[in-house]
């Protein structure tokens, strides 16, 4: 008969052990938690934010809320311009946009996809105030003068059909409210004055879509004020003019009559778009689907390929230069190898900028290296080598900077290879070269793998060194990202390029973790 083991307080042993294990796990997590939260807040969320920014595109829908709504019923593949309703919505949206001065921002955003559109928005913003917007206001007041009073809108907005049956008017009225607040201060009351003419145009376009049932509801409303307003409006509104905004916009800027511009606005209306990713691979979405950009605008694919090739080249040079050094350090007696190790560790510990400035000084046309070559007579004084501001500069400098990252993992792997393996091979008749090729070298492959992935990961994301010694030909994708963040301000594209680079690095990181294990990273 099996009796259950118990601890001194009578608990079954397995329960007691499980409890202890739980407590231990909890303690470990409590210790890790502060850093984990810290890293999630200050590092992971910024990166997620960047991923979000690479697809985020609320600016179009936020700046032109009514236009994007009205554009949904337009066929971007047809050869007709949008309807009068769209232009009326545009007038209303632009009026507010120029008041709060966001139309130029929208213009620059659209300009990334449709060059030239920015100036159209700038010009239109200046001229929008001169737009004649009285056409529907007049039509409504001719039917009933009460339409010109603010009370008419208050009555309409109280009705149960608002805002569902009045999509355009409700956006237009909100725009109006924002306009008043921006114009007169936050405590201004938009319900105290009757809205500007654009709102009446929006109402006109909404009325056209009302069903007769909805008309009945409105004209037989409990609110006598509202029913009076809608009395006879249905019959009268049939003869309302359709509007003259299209004409006025075409006068303002020819671009408003071009299908391309409207297609761009239509395509970028959604709040989430993939346009930045297509731009990152030199493609764009047009009405004919995704096509390659014109030849002179293709830069990113070339840049990605160059980044990869140069990183491979740098990794390869690091293997070539690092292998002999690691071998020497691993085979010399400890005392000597510790001394020589300083020559590897000192560059490793020296500031990146110090090393980069050193190379910048050495590689210049009038720099030390060229001077020595001229003095030796290897090159003429008048054709000094161009060693900097090109690919050569980047490769020489980055190999130097990343070399310790290759030597250290190689060294720690070679240290574990017993010399008796090679001795055994030789005792059985292998030549030096054969013993190296068949015995020693295969044993060092894990070290080469670890060092190569590390160097490659560090290399493809490098920014500072290529920026300083790479000129225009020797720069990496990172430099383009930095350019878009600080100079061209195309943050969406910067985020998309960054996300692509990030994915590449994370795949390599995953591979590194598989092969080497992040626990085994050694420093110095």
């Amino acid at each position: 008969m099996a009796t259950e083991l118990t601890t001194h307080d009578g608990q079954p042993l397995h329960k007691s052990l499980a409890k202890a294990l739980r407590r231990e796990k909890l303690r470990a997590l409590v210790l890790i938690a502060p850093l984990l939260v810290f890293v999630l807040l200050t590092f992971v969320s910024p990166i997620l934010d960047m991923l979000f920014r690479s697809v985020e595109n609320s600016i179009v829908a936020d700046t032109l809320p009514d236009t994007t709504r009205a554009l949904q019923s337009w066929d971007p593949l047809g050869d007709e311009l949008p309807s009068e309703e769209v232009y009326a919505s545009l007038a209303n949206d632009m009026m507010l946009a120029q008041e709060v001065k966001i139309h130029t921002r929208l213009g620059s955003r659209l300009n990334y996809d449709q060059p030239g559109i920015a100036s159209m928005f700038r010009k239109s913003g200046r001229r929008i105030k001169r737009l004649d917007a009285e056409i529907h206001l007049d039509a409504f007041t001719n039917v009933n003068a009460a339409w010109a009073t603010p009370a008419s809108w208050t009555a309409l907005r109280k009705h149960s059909l608002w805002p569902e049956a009045f999509p355009s008017s409700s956006i237009a009225w909100n725009n109006w409210a924002k306009f008043v607040k921006s114009d007169e201060g936050d405590d201004a009351d938009p319900t105290a004055t009757s809205p500007y003419g654009f709102t009446y145009s929006a109402l006109h376009h909404d009325l056209k879509k009302l069903s007769s049932e909805q008309w009945n509801k409105l004209s037989s409303s409990d609110n006598s004020e509202l029913s009076a307003l809608f009395n006879g409006l249905q019959e009268a509104s049939v003869s309302f003019p359709d509007g003259n905004y299209k004409e006025q916009f075409l006068d303002m800027h020819d671009g408003w009559g071009e299908l391309d511009n409207w297609q761009t606005i239509h395509r970028l209306s959604p709040k989430v778009v993939d346009s930045y990713y297509w731009a990152s691979v030199d493609r764009e979405r047009t009405s004919d689907g995704v096509v390659q950009k014109p030849e002179n605008e293709r830069i990113y694919v070339t840049l990605f390929i160059r980044t990869l090739l140069m990183s491979l080249l740098i990794t390869f040079s690091c293997i070539l230069l690092g292998y002999p050094i690691a071998y020497l350090l691993a085979t010399l007696p400890t005392r000597t190898s510790n001394l020589l190790m300083i020559l590897v560790l000192l560059p490793f510990w020296t500031s990146l900028l110090v090393r980069t400035s050193a190379w910048k000084v050495l590689l210049q046309q009038q720099g030390v290296i060229n001077n020595i070559l001229v003095w030796l007579g290897l090159v003429g004084d008048d054709n000094r080598l161009a060693l900097i501001n090109n690919m050569t500069g980047t490769i020489i400098t980055m190999t130097h900077i990343l070399l310790p990252f290759m030597i250290l993992p190689l060294f720690s792997v070679m240290k574990t290879i017993s010399p008796s393996y090679v001795r055994a091979a030789k005792s059985m008749g292998a030549t030096d070269w054969y013993a190296f090729r068949r015995i020693y070298f295969p044993n060092t492959i894990p070290g080469i793998g670890a060092g190569s992935i590390l160097v490659f990961i560090l290399s493809i994301g490098y920014y500072i060194t290529p920026e300083l010694v790479g000129g225009t030909k020797g720069v990496f994708i990172s430099n383009r990202i930095a350019y878009h963040i600080s100079s061209s301000l195309n943050w969406g594209l910067a985020a998309a390029l960054g996300s692509i680079l990030l994915v590449a690095v994370l795949i390599l990181y995953w591979a590194y973790d598989r092969i080497v294990g992040i626990d085994n990273v050694k420093l110095g």
């Binding site: 890790i32 502060p34 560059p347 510990w349 920014y463 943050w491």
Partner: protein, 284 residues
């Protein structure tokens, strides 16, 4: 390879010496010369970036400390130096405190999701700086975090992986029975930590802190994006100097920074030896 056997053939001898003094010599030369060359260049009496004839003749007139004087009197450089020394210690403190705790947690025998947590905690070291800096630039602007603290937080998080790695490495050799002995003698966990564990892992903590310090002290990408002219640091000033118009003062600064690295390297080496002695590992 360590030494040639007496029976080595002529070919083997030639290869041995070519390899050791030719190939490896050249690679060491490539590794170390750029750093050594700028030290004498920083004492150039002229505003050139190459050795003048007077310098080559070792004429004292060819040398001067005027670039160093410029560094110590120029307001831009002095502001940058002060900022560097304001930012780095704070970032180091944060990184070391959080990193040490987490490393102790991670070295417990039973940690759920250990691999995933480790991957996240080490990622600041792996993700390209330009991506981290860009993300922080967007995100910190969104939550309206600017200036000094944004840089300190960025540098702290970039430094934590180094602290974790070094402290974890010290904890690997830590003898668990020591804490058990302390507990059996009636010490509370907190007392055990400060009296037994802490003194033994302190070399790892200090070298982690040094790594975190040098990370912050050296870091330029995050400062470029998050900082302004008011919060510029030494690397920021060097970077803009190198990009716009390179002034010889940079070489003086570089030499000072090399001196700092040598100092740090020495401290680290001494710590490593102390740690090995404490843990009873005799140097091989």
């Amino acid at each position: 390879m360590s030494s040639l056997p007496a029976y080595a053939s002529t070919g083997q001898r030639i290869w041995h010496y070519t390899f050791r003094y030719g190939i490896c010599g050249l690679i060491f030369f490539y590794l170390i010369t750029p750093i050594l060359v700028i030290i004498p260049l920083s004492f150039n009496a002229q505003d050139f970036f190459t050795f003048t004839e007077k310098m080559l003749k070792l004429d004292p007139e060819g040398y001067s400390t005027k670039h160093y004087q410029d560094f110590f009197t120029n307001n831009d450089w002095q502001l940058a130096l002060r900022n560097s020394f304001r930012i780095a210690p704070m970032a180091t403190l944060l990184a070391t405190a959080f990193g040490t705790l987490a490393a102790i947690g991670l070295s417990q025998p039973h940690v759920p999701f250990r691999r995933a947590i480790m991957a996240i905690l080490i990622s600041p070291m792996i993700v390209p700086l330009i991506i981290s800096a860009a993300g922080m630039y967007f995100f910190y602007a969104r939550i309206n975090l600017q200036g000094y603290w944004s840089i300190v937080l960025a540098h702290a998080v970039l430094g934590t992986p180094f602290v974790i790695i070094t402290v974890t490495a010290t904890l690997v050799g830590f003898d668990k029975s020591l804490t058990r002995a302390a507990a059996s003698l009636g010490a509370t966990p907190v007392r055990t930590f400060f009296k037994v564990q802490m003194p033994l892992i302190i070399p790892g903590v200090v070298s982690g802190a040094l790594f975190a310090f040098i990370t912050s002290f050296d870091e330029v990408v995050a400062v470029l994006f998050l900082g302004s002219a008011k919060t510029k640091t030494l690397p920021w000033q060097m970077f803009t100097g190198l990009r716009e118009q390179i002034s010889p003062t940079i070489l003086a600064v570089a030499t000072i920074m090399i001196a700092i690295s040598i100092l740090l390297l020495t401290v680290l080496e001494l710590l490593r030896r102390r740690s090995e002695r404490l843990r009873g590992i005799t140097p091989t």
